[in-house]
């Protein structure tokens, strides 16, 4: 189970269920006990009432005055409530008028002890019975031991208790469901900041934002701030490595320049030969340097790059190129909508600079740059001589290295292709729709 909300919801549901079942069982048990105690009280009262209406005749006959009976139901044949007195041999001494054919046999119990139990009558229905063994003294020390039992039908009490149980369970079930729903709502409320952070992290990965927002609850603020610090420090470290590499590579270039131009003033043929070798070697050193410098910067985590808008980059490059090429080339920019791309800005400058410079270098007099926001594409058309077909097919092959020498292609275009691919994008060469000149399509992700 990977979701926090699912875990919380399931555990809350389990706890709530156990809690409600325990409540239901204990409430039901105590209510049943109380009902039973009340029943015993009532039957005791009935037995005392019958005993009060009882007298013993001289010949050991029990005389019960029907007028003094405590409950009129004892005189009704169908009431189901009856009282019976039996002697020690089990012979009935007196039965109320309500007695039926079913007379439960009394148990032998010590004198003066109340016994309450539930039994089934002959029709299979449950009845409650309370019995008491007692001794009646009469005529100077003569004693008549007998047992009195009161029997009452369990049906009405059972129905009441069942109804109570049912309504108890229903109300607890409704409360449980209500509490669960409330818990769900509370969960979604309290987990919302976590979801927001998750969404923002996705946005950072997709290049739509640079940092987590500060609008987080106090408990999550340290986490958000730590993530932001991590992002910043990673970006800084990346920048630092890049700068270090850059410094290393660039500091070697001035000595290489000196070596390259050593032979300019000498006329000695032997020296010239030697210097030619130096020149060849320095050229190789230079291209190696360039290649590794590019590799090193490309192997950095691109997802950490901040999102930048390509428009200002294109505008700056355009005005710079117009300066270099003394306004021989006009560059027009059509931007549909502004959009952002997730690239290190130095890389974006390289990609676009190489493509635009290439167009100027090969004699285009007009360049059209069109930005398409809907598919994050920049299309650069020019009216120069266009690309040779060989080049178009060559560049579409995978794994073209920036240092591979291709006729008719400055190193720049291959470098731009490699850079675009390292960011998951692509650079495609083609002819524009009117088939004159060249079209470069840069697709960003």
């Amino acid at each position: 189970m990977s979701s926090i909300s699912a875990r919380l919801l399931v555990s809350t549901a389990v706890v709530l269920s156990i809690f409600f079942v325990l409540i239901a069982v204990s409430v039901s048990y105590s209510v049943h006990k109380r009902a039973e105690a009340a029943l015993v009280d009532r039957l005791q009262g009935l037995i005392y009432g019958v005993l009060a209406a009882t007298d013993v005749s001289a010949n050991q006959q029990l005389l019960v005055s029907s007028d003094e009976l405590p409950d009129p139901r004892l005189s009704q044949a169908t009431s189901g409530l009856f009282v019976e007195m039996v002697n020690q041999d089990g012979q009935p001494l007196w039965q109320s008028q309500s007695s039926t054919s079913f007379i439960p046999t009394v148990a032998k119990t010590p004198v003066g002890e109340w016994v309450f139990d539930q039994i089934e009558n002959d029709a299979g229905k449950r009845v409650h019975r309370l019995q008491l063994a007692t001794v009646w003294e009469y005529n100077e020390g003569l004693e008549l031991p007998f047992t009195i039992q009161a029997v009452s039908p369990a049906e009405s009490l059972d129905v009441q208790l069942r109804q109570f149980d049912r309504s108890l369970w229903i109300s607890l079930l409704i409360s449980g469901i209500g509490l669960l729903l409330m818990q769900l709502w509370i969960l979604s409320k309290s987990l919302k900041p976590l979801n927001t952070i998750g969404d923002e992290l996705t946005q950072i990965e997709q290049g739509e934002r640079d940092q987590l927002s500060n609008k987080v609850p106090t408990e999550l603020a340290p986490l958000a701030s730590s993530i932001n610090t991590l992002l910043t420090s990673e970006r800084n470290r990346h920048k630092q490595y890049r700068n270090l590499l850059d410094d290393l590579a660039h500091s070697l270039k001035t000595p290489i320049s000196v070596l390259t131009n050593l032979g300019n003033s000498t006329t000695d043929a032997e020296k010239k030969g030697m210097i030619k070798t130096v020149d060849e070697q320095t050229t190789q050193m230079q291209s190696t340097l360039q290649r590794y410098l590019q590799r090193a910067t490309q192997s950095t985590p691109q997802k950490l790059a901040a999102a930048i808008s390509p428009l200002p980059v294109i505008e700056r490059l355009a005005s710079s190129l117009q300066k270099i090429y003394s306004n021989k080339t006009s560059i027009s920019i059509n931007d549909e909508h502004l959009f952002k791309v997730r690239l290190a800005d130095a890389d974006l400058y390289e990609i676009l600079g190489n493509v635009l410079d290439n167009a100027c270098k090969y004699g285009a007099t007009a360049i059209n740059v069109t930005l398409h926001a809907h598919n994050k594409t920049i299309v650069i058309d020019d009216n120069g001589p266009g690309f040779p077909q060989k080049l178009i097919t060559h560049l579409t092959e995978r794994g073209v290295r920036a240092d591979s020498q291709i006729e008719g292609l400055g190193l720049g275009l291959a470098a731009s292709t490699e850079l675009m691919e390292s960011y998951g994008g692509s650079l495609k060469l083609s002819a524009p729709d009117d088939l004159s000149g060249a079209r470069v399509t840069l697709k960003f992700v």
Binding site: H250, T254, T260, S265, A346
Partner: protein
């Protein structure tokens, strides 16, 4: 032509100075940003070659400052940092072109010639006037399609006047742009060069390419012809 070189790597600076002297440039040089800025703003410079990483004041700041002081001569940046971002920064600071290290001196010379032509309003390496053409690349001068043989100094005087065609150039300015600081400058020598130039370019006195404006200086007065 007077070129300013600001480059802190001595070996490279010496190579540049040598190559430019060979091309007939008068040179001001410095290995330090502060001194370089002083030279850039006080000397009659025609073109500056400036390295970006310098002790004292960095190259970009020098370019910004000399532009702020209305020095309008072309500036070529020399730098090991050849990324487009660096190029754009340099060009926006006021540089006119950009040369990434390592480079061949020939390429630098070609860029310098192009910048000088552009600042003189020429778009090709061939400066064409009525009856006279000067190839800044090969340093060959033709009068009515006949090759004229000039000495290095004669060529420099002519090229400077041609790149500033139509403007009056005083002797002092001409000397400033032709000679290094430490060279013995004699206005009489200049007059001798001008006289010899006139003889070589215009032996039958028909063209009259160089006008003398008494007390003010010289002017190349030929009309520019179509390019």
């Amino acid at each position: 032509m007077r070129a300013l070189i600001i480059e802190d790597e001595q070996a490279l600076r010496e190579q540049l100075v040598e190559a430019l002297r060979e091309q007939g440039f008068a040179i001001d040089e410095s290995g330090d940003g502060t001194e370089g800025l002083y030279l850039a703003t006080t000397m009659p410079i025609d073109i500056a070659i400036i390295d970006l990483g310098l002790p004292g004041i960095d190259g970009l700041s020098i370019i910004k400052k000399l532009r702020a002081e209305s020095c309008s001569y072309p500036v070529l940046i020399l730098t090991a940092r050849d990324s487009w971002q660096d190029k754009v920064d340099g060009l926006e600071a006021g540089a006119d072109d950009y040369l990434a290290k390592p480079f061949h001196i020939e390429e630098m010379l070609a860029r310098i010639r192009a910048l000088l032509r552009r600042s003189g309003g020429f778009s090709e390496s061939l400066l064409r006037f009525e009856g006279l053409s000067i190839d800044t690349r090969t340093q060959q001068v033709m009068v009515n399609d006949n090759l004229v043989s000039l000495t290095a100094y004669e060529y420099r005087v002519l090229a400077y006047l041609a790149l500033n065609a139509g403007s009056v150039i005083s002797k002092a300015v001409l000397l400033d742009h032709l000679y290094d600081e430490d060279t013995d400058r004699d206005p009489n020598v200049l007059e001798v060069f001008i006289r010899r130039l006139r003889q070589k370019l215009d032996p039958d006195k028909k063209l009259d390419p160089i006008e003398t404006l008494r007390g003010r200086g010289y002017r190349l007065s030929l009309e520019r012809s179509g390019e």
